[in-house]
C-alpha cells in the first residue's frame, strides 16, 4: 500500500521536475505585466492640435471599452506628462473608453507580445523599435494604415530614415514615434586642457585628439573615448562611413558584405580608435553599464550616445541612484562623429520607435485616434524637449537650431539602417556582430578572418528558409 501510493507521488514529482524545466523554456501562457500602470487621465489636455488633426471633433459617447497601449519604460521616466495629456485629449472624443497604458522593457517586450498574440489578448497600440518592425510586418502582425496616413499631422514630412522602417512593399504598417541618433558627448574641460581639437574634421583628427587626452591621465581605468567592445552600432557607423555595408539583397537572396575592402577599412579604423583611446571592457556593450554613468564616474572624457545623455550626466542624483553629477555642469559639450573625408560626418545609425496597431485590435479607429494625438506636432515638440529627435524633417531643422542638439540632428540626416530581412533578428540574437568585434579586439582573429567568418554566418542565417 505504502509503496504503491509512493509510486504515484514519485511519478507526479518526476513529471513536476521535468515539467518545470521544460515549461520554463517554452511557456506560452499569457502573463500580466509586472510593471503595468494605468495612466490617470486627470491632467488637462495640452494638445489643442489633436482634435483638428483628426478632422472630426464629434464626441463619440457610444464607444465603450478599453484601449490598451504598450509603451516602453522610456515614456514613463522621460515624458509621462505627454502620455497623460494624450489620454486626456483622447477622452474628449471617446469619454467612455478607458485607456490602459502598460509600460514594457526592451529586453522582453517581444517575447510578451508573442505570447499575447498567441493568447489573443494583444494590445491595441504597441511601440516597436525600428529594428524590430521588419519581421512583424512580413508575418502580418500589424494593421495596414496606408489609407489613413494623411490623417497624421505633417505626415508628408516624416523623417525618411525612420518612417521607412514602418513601410513594407509601399504599405504603411507603423507610424514614426520618435528618432534617436548618437553623437559624441565629451568633457570640454579635459579636451581643451589637452589641446585636442573639439571640431575634428576627420576621424584621424579625432584619434589624434583623443590620444592627447588619454596621455594626460594616469588612471588606468580612464578612457579618453569610452567604447565597449560589443558596441556594434558604433562599429557599423564606421563600416557605412567607409562605404561598406552589412548585407545587401538582390532577387530575394542576401549577400553579406563585411569582408569587402570598404567594410574592412571601416572596422579597422574603429579598432584603431578603440585601442588608442578606450579602456572600456572588451566584453561589454553600451548598455551594461549605461555609458553616461562612466562619464559621471569621471572615467571617460567622451562617449558616443543619444541626445538625452548630456542632460543625464549633469542631472542630480535621483532616488534610484541613477542620476548624474551636477558639478560637471558647463563641462559637457557635444560634437558629431567625424567621417573619413573632411566635411562629411560618419554615417550614423538612426534608432527610434514606431507605433503600430496589431491586427487583433478590435477598434482600429480608437487606436489611430490615440496615436494621432501622441505623435502630432505639439507632442513631438515635447519629445524633442526630452532629448529625442522628432519624427519630421520640419521639426528636425528646428531641433538643429539648438546647439546642444545640432550634432544629433545632423547625424540623423546621413544615416544607415539594419538590413530589412525577415531573419535579421537571428543575426542579432546570435550576437554575430558583437562576437566578431570582440574576436578582433582580443586579437583572436584578424579583421579579414573575423569578417569572413561573420559573413558566412550572416548569409546562412538571412537566407535560411524557416
Amino acid at each position: 500500500m505504502k509503496a504503491r501510493s509512493l509510486t504515484v507521488v514519485a511519478i507526479a514529482a518526476a513529471l513536476g521536475l521535468a515539467g518545470c524545466s521544460s515549461g520554463k523554456s517554452t511557456q506560452t501562457t499569457t502573463q500580466n505585466s509586472p510593471t503595468a500602470a494605468t495612466t490617470s487621465a486627470a491632467s488637462t489636455a495640452t494638445t489643442p492640435a489633436a482634435a483638428s488633426a483628426s478632422g472630426d471633433d464629434a464626441v463619440d459617447t457610444d464607444a465603450k471599452g478599453t484601449l490598451t497601449v504598450w509603451l516602453q519604460q522610456d515614456a514613463k521616466t522621460g515624458w509621462p506628462d505627454l502620455v497623460a495629456s494624450t489620454t486626456a485629449a483622447f477622452k474628449k472624443k471617446y469619454p467612455n473608453v478607458n485607456v490602459d497604458v502598460e509600460y514594457q522593457n526592451w529586453t522582453d517586450h517581444l517575447a510578451k507580445f508573442d505570447t499575447q498574440l498567441a493568447g489573443g489578448s494583444a494590445p491595441d497600440v504597441i511601440e516597436m523599435g525600428n529594428t524590430e518592425m521588419a519581421k512583424y510586418m512580413i508575418d502580418g502582425a500589424f494593421a495596414d494604415l496606408t489609407a489613413d496616413k494623411g490623417t497624421f499631422e505633417d505626415s508628408a514630412n516624416w523623417l525618411p530614415g525612420l518612417a521607412d522602417s514602418g513601410v513594407l512593399d509601399g504599405k504603411v504598417f507603423g507610424v514614426p514615434y520618435y528618432a534617436a541618433s548618437r553623437a559624441i558627448s565629451y568633457r570640454s574641460d579635459l579636451w581643451e586642457a589637452a589641446g585636442a581639437s573639439t571640431t575634428p574634421a576627420t576621424i584621424d583628427d579625432l584619434i589624434t585628439g583623443c590620444k592627447a587626452v588619454q596621455a594626460k591621465s594616469t588612471d588606468k581605468n580612464f578612457s579618453a573615448f569610452y567604447i565597449p567592445g560589443k558596441y556594434w552600432y558604433m562599429a557599423m557607423n564606421f563600416v557605412y562611413g567607409a562605404g561598406g555595408d552589412i548585407a545587401t539583397s538582390s532577387g530575394g537572396k542576401w549577400t553579406a558584405d563585411l569582408n569587402s575592402a570598404a567594410s574592412q577599412k571601416g572596422i579597422s579604423k574603429w579598432a584603431e580608435l578603440v585601442k588608442a583611446c578606450s579602456k572600456a571592457p572588451v566584453d561589454t556593450d553600451e548598455s551594461h553599464p549605461n555609458q553616461y554613468l562612466i562619464m559621471v564616474k569621471k572615467q571617460a572624457a567622451a562617449i558616443l550616445d543619444a541626445g538625452w545623455v548630456p542632460g543625464a550626466i549633469i542631472a542630480p542624483q535621483n532616488d534610484q541612484g541613477t542620476g548624474g553629477d551636477p558639478s560637471l555642469k558647463g563641462q559637457i559639450a557635444t560634437m558629431t562623429l567625424p567621417g573619413f573625408e573632411a566635411g562629411t560626418p560618419m554615417t550614423a545609425f538612426l534608432g527610434g520607435s514606431d507605433l503600430a496597431v496589431p491586427v487583433s485590435a478590435k477598434h482600429k479607429d480608437w487606436s489611430e485616434a490615440w496615436m494621432r494625438i501622441f505623435i502630432d506636432t505639439d507632442s513631438e515638440k515635447a519629445l524633442v524637449a526630452a532629448g529625442n529627435l522628432p519624427n519630421t524633417t520640419t521639426l528636425l531643422d528646428a531641433a538643429g537650431a539648438n546647439p546642444a542638439l545640432k550634432p544629433f540632428a545632423d547625424s540623423a540626416k546621413n544615416s544607415w539602417f539594419t538590413p530589412t530581412a525577415k531573419n535579421w533578428v537571428s543575426v542579432e540574437k546570435q550576437n554575430v556582430l558583437p562576437d566578431m568585434l570582440v574576436s578582433i579586439l582580443n586579437g583572436q582573429k584578424s579583421v579579414d578572418q573575423a569578417t569572413k567568418d561573420a559573413d558566412s554566418t550572416i548569409e546562412q542565417l538571412l537566407n535560411s528558409s524557416s
Binding site: S21, S25, T107, K429
Partner: protein
C-alpha cells in the same frame, strides 16, 4: 440490530473508506499537477510536431510537419555541440557537488557544536537566497571593472594580471564561474541531507571497524557509504535533474545576451523560441531536455521505491 452486528458493519465500512481515503487525499495534488504541469507538457509535445512561428501565432493556424523539427535539430551540428556541452557541464557540476557535499557533511560530524551551527546557518542563508538575486550578486563580484574579486586579486594579493581581468572572455573560464555559482547554490541541500544520513550511522559500527584497524577511507567505504548509499543516489539524481536544466545562471549572468559559445540546451531552446520565434523547434529541443530528465527521474523514482520496500 444487535450491538455486535453494528460493530462488524462499522469495521467493514471503515475498511472500505480506508481503501478510498488515500486516493481522495491525493486527488487535489494530482489534479493540480496535471493541470499545471501535465497540460503544458502535453502542449509542448504537440508544439514540437508543428511549424509554429510568428506567422502561425498571428493567424492562429498551425501546420503539422511530423518529425521535421526533430530532423532539423538532430541534423544540426550546433545542437550536438550544445548537447555535449550540457552533458559535460552537468557531469562536472554533479560530481563536484557530490564530492564537496560529502566531504563537508563528514566534516560537520567532527567539528564542535558552535562551528556546526555556524556552518549550518551559513548554508541555510545560501539556500534561502533566490537564484536571480544570487546571480546578480555573483555578477557584481566578477565584474571586470569594479568587481570585488578582481580588486582583491590585483590589489590585495598583488596578482597584477587580474587587474580588469575578464572572466567571461573565454567560455571555459566563464563556465567555471557559472559552475561555481551552481555548485555553491546546490551544496546546502546536499550537505544537510547527507549529514542527516551520516549521523544515523551507529558510532559502535565505526569504532568496531577502527579497532579492527580500518583506515579512514576504508571506514567510509565499508561502513558509512553503504548506510547512506540510498540517500546519495537520490541526491545525485536530483542534482542531475537540476544541473541539466540550468538556465538563469547562464542567461542572467550574461545579461540576457549569451553568445552561442555559452548555450546550454535550456538556453538554446529559449533562444530558438523567444529569441528567433521558432517555437516548434524550441519545443523539440525542450522535449529532448525532458527526455534526459525522465531518465534521471527514473533512477530517482526507483530509489524511492526501494526505500519504500525496505520499510
Amino acid at each position: 440490530m444487535s450491538a455486535v452486528g453494528t460493530q462488524r458493519g462499522l469495521r467493514a465500512s471503515r475498511r472500505r473508506v480506508a481503501g478510498v481515503v488515500p486516493y481522495l487525499l491525493m486527488a487535489p495534488a494530482v489534479v493540480v499537477i496535471l493541470a499545471v504541469l501535465g497540460y503544458p507538457l502535453y502542449r509542448l509535445v504537440v508544439l514540437s510536431f508543428q511549424h509554429y512561428s510568428l506567422a502561425e501565432i498571428i493567424s492562429h493556424k498551425t501546420t503539422w510537419i511530423g518529425f521535421k523539427n526533430y530532423r532539423d535539430i538532430f541534423g544540426d551540428s550546433q545542437f550536438w555541440a550544445i548537447l555535449q556541452r550540457t552533458v559535460e557541464f552537468t557531469a562536472f557540476n554533479v560530481a563536484l557537488t557530490m564530492v564537496l557535499g560529502t566531504l563537508i557533511a563528514l566534516l560537520l560530524r567532527k567539528v564542535s557544536g558552535w562551528v556546526r551551527l555556524l556552518v549550518n546557518t551559513a548554508m541555510i542563508f545560501v539556500w534561502a537566497t533566490p537564484v536571480v538575486v544570487a546571480v546578480v550578486v555573483w555578477q557584481w563580484m566578477f565584474d571586470q571593472q569594479s568587481g570585488v574579486l578582481n580588486y582583491l586579486l590585483a590589489h590585495v594579493f598583488q596578482f597584477g594580471g587580474f587587474d580588469r581581468h575578464d572572466w567571461f572572455r573565454s567560455p571555459v573560464s566563464g563556465f567555471g564561474v557559472i559552475s561555481a555559482l551552481v555548485i555553491w547554490g546546490a551544496l546546502p541541500f546536499v550537505v544537510i541531507t547527507l549529514y542527516a544520513g551520516i549521523s544515523q550511522v551507529p558510532v559502535e559500527l565505526e569504532e568496531a571497524a577502527r579497532v579492527d584497524g580500518a583506515s579512514s577511507w576504508r571506514v567510509f567505504r565499508s561502513v558509512v557509504y553503504p548506510a547512506i548509499k540510498p540517500l546519495v543516489l537520490i541526491v545525485m539524481s536530483l542534482s542531475i535533474i537540476w544541473d541539466f536544466g540550468v538556465f538563469n545562471q547562464v542567461y542572467i549572468m550574461l545579461n540576457g545576451r549569451p553568445s552561442s559559445d555559452y548555450y546550454l540546451l535550456s538556453v538554446y531552446s529559449y533562444q530558438e523560441s523567444f529569441g528567433v520565434g521558432q517555437y516548434g523547434k524550441g519545443a523539440a529541443i525542450a522535449v529532448v531536455i525532458v527526455f534526459f530528465l525522465l531518465v534521471a527521474a527514473f533512477f530517482y523514482i526507483r530509489q524511492l521505491l526501494r526505500i519504500g520496500e525496505v520499510e
